[in-house]
């Protein structure tokens, strides 16, 4: 399963790409593979303030549904609206066009809690076992 080294991860199968005080968030390749064909995505409102651990959206396949958890607190600068009409992007390009939200961080200390790629790979290996 593809886990780019330059990203950080959560145990809820989200990835985070940091750029200064902002972060892009999406779901991992492993997550999309486990869900199967994604048919629906729910995203938050832009400008909304979110706290770590809150749910910020939902992804659904035909047989399962997963809540998305906020990895880092902050304000939502942007949401990737094309996903709403074309949720299949999440299956095709989870780390690229499949990004979900762009967050302005309010508590960068939380970054320390995220997983590095190796640790995340280990985690999915254990889950798959």
């Amino acid at each position: 399963m593809n886990c780019p080294k330059d990203l950080k991860y959560t145990s809820e199968h989200e990835w985070v790409s940091l750029d200064g005080n902002t972060a892009l968030v999406g779901i991992t390749d492993y997550a999309q593979d486990q869900l199967g064909d994604i048919v629906f995505v729910e995203l938050p409102e832009e400008e909304e303030t979110i706290d770590q651990g809150d749910t910020f959206g939902v992804v659904e396949s035909t047989k399962s549904v997963s809540d998305l958890y906020v990895p880092l607190s902050g304000k939502i600068l942007e949401t990737n609206d094309p996903l709403l009409d074309n949720p299949g992007i999440l299956n095709e390009d989870p780390y690229g066009d499949g990004w979900m939200i762009k967050v302005e961080l309010s508590n960068p200390d939380e970054i320390k809690e995220l997983l590095e790629a190796e640790a995340y790979e280990q985690l999915i290996k254990e889950e798959g076992a």
């Binding site: 629906f40 659904e60 396949s61 035909t62 047989k63 399962s64 549904v65």
Partner: protein, 449 residues
């Protein structure tokens, strides 16, 4: 026993294969002190002939709408059911099939539901309908919960002229959540008081629930109510208990209702002492993910052939568990089948004509009855096939006297709303003959004399 096919010989063979001495030994996993030491205390078994005789006999103790002249409505309506409805709902392939979770071998049920959804969506003027809920009352409660989810507001306004059982179910469903219900007052003509409604429309109102024809048979000013609700950012929930009215009246969808629910019994379902019936539930496409209940969609199979599947199951309890839109698991499958067969037979013209006959019979009966001194029409706004009479005297006693003359004269509505102490809700359908209606008038004259 005819339903238990294993012979003593086969039981022996099976026990040997399993490695037990008798079927009873398989229950040794139940601690001895929890096992029944004697058989249940139930009546002795009956063979088919005495069983049928017993049930026929017990059933005969009841009067029914064929044995008496019945003028009863109030949420359940006596309409003619074409023979073909029973012919088809009795087919084992429908009667004894499971929920269509395996679409490849359930296309019959799935396509029938798809056609049902199409007809109900069209009749209510909405984008789509689900595969049905338990009944009209619980459908209204689910609609209110759905509106609360969509708007994230806290309050439901419901007309006082909503069937009291529907209002009671609404209370039962909402009472352990942090939601409020307020009732909108009636004006003297039997319709919702718009100024009272206006005064209650605050920022916390999620939806206005309006029944039309309402509990008293009166046709409401749906457009005006919808307008007021929407001006307040609230949703409009339309409701009905006499589905036949859809043949004549403007659909709620055309006045902008966001959710439309109602009782579908009138479409080909027996009275059955109140159930099973079916709740009709329709909404706008933009709200579909908040809708409770089963839903069928069209798709293609691996060979590109049209087929049908259950869709948006992720809203439902078997996947979403405590976060589901509702705990509802079943739909009213056979009742929905009866409905889709009935509506197919009636077609647009049949339904309209039948609605007009009901409308006309109710007027004939109303004129007969209100010609009796002391008997007046309680509400003056136009009604569909039922209406409230104001009678001199106590409704309960009066109805008992009519029953003694072979007439089920109506529903005692004295407790349904303030000011109805002398109210009787009377209904006429195509099942009432002109003779019956004249006899009713004659009997009422005698009782009041």
């Amino acid at each position: 026993m005819r339903y238990l096919p294993q012979t003593p010989e086969e039981i022996k063979k099976m026990c040997a294969a399993v490695g037990v001495s008798s079927p009873d030994a398989l229950f040794d996993v139940i601690p001895q002190n929890l096992r029944l030491q004697q058989d249940l205390d139930l009546p002795a078994p009956l063979a088919e002939a005495p069983l049928l005789a017993h049930l026929k006999g017990l059933g005969r103790v009841n009067a029914n709408v064929d044995s008496m002249a019945a003028f009863l409505g109030g949420g359940a309506y006596h309409h003619y059911i074409p023979v073909l409805v029973s012919t088809l709902t009795s087919r084992g392939e429908y009667l004894t099939s499971y929920t269509p979770y395996q679409p490849e071998i359930s296309q019959g049920t799935l396509q029938a539901i798809f056609e049902f959804q199409t007809m109900i969506a069209s009749l209510t003027g909405m984008d789509l309908a689900n595969a049905s809920n338990y009944d009209g009352a619980s459908a209204l409660a689910e609609a209110a919960l759905m509106a609360l989810r969509i708007t994230r507001r806290q309050k439901i306004l419901v007309s006082t002229a909503t069937n009291p059982q529907y209002r009671e179910v609404l209370h039962t469903y909402l009472k352990n959540r942090d939601f409020e219900i307020e009732e909108i007052a009636l004006q003297p003509d039997g319709r919702v008081d718009l100024s009272d409604l206006q005064s209650r429309l605050k920022g916390d109102v999620a939806a206005v629930c309006l029944q039309s024809p309402n509990a008293f048979g009166v046709i409401e000013a749906t457009q005006a109510v919808a307008q007021l609700a929407h001006d307040n950012g609230s949703l409009m929930v339309g409701c009905f208990s006499e589905a036949l009215s859809l043949g004549l009246l403007k659909p709620f969808g055309e006045v902008g209702a966001d959710i439309v629910v109602g009782e579908g019994q009138s479409f080909g379902n027996f009275l059955n002492l109140g159930g099973p019936y079916l709740g009709l539930f329709a909404t706008k496409e933009k709200y579909v993910r908040q809708m409770p209940g089963r839903l069928v969609g069209e798709t293609l199979d691996a060979n590109g052939k049209r087929g049908f599947v259950l869709v948006l199951s992720t809203r439902e309890q078997h996947i979403r568990r405590e976060k589901a839109t509702s705990n509802i698991c079943t739909n009213q499958g056979l009742c929905a089948l009866a409905t889709v067969v009935y509506l197919s037979l009636m077609g647009p013209k049949g339904l309209e004509r039948l609605a007009q006959i009901n409308f006309s019979y109710a007027r004939f009966l109303r004129d007969q009855l209100t010609a009796i001194p002391g008997v007046t029409l309680k509400f003056t706004a136009p009604h569909f096939n039922e209406f409230v009479l104001q009678v001199p005297g106590e409704p309960k006693a009066l109805l008992a006297e009519l029953a003694a003359k072979g007439i089920l004269g109506g529903v005692d509505v004295s407790q349904w709303a303030p000011g109805l102490e002398n109210g009787i809700l009377v209904c006429a359908t195509e099942m009432n003959t002109k003779d019956q209606m004249e006899q009713y008038a004659q009997a009422l004259r005698e009782v009041l004399a």
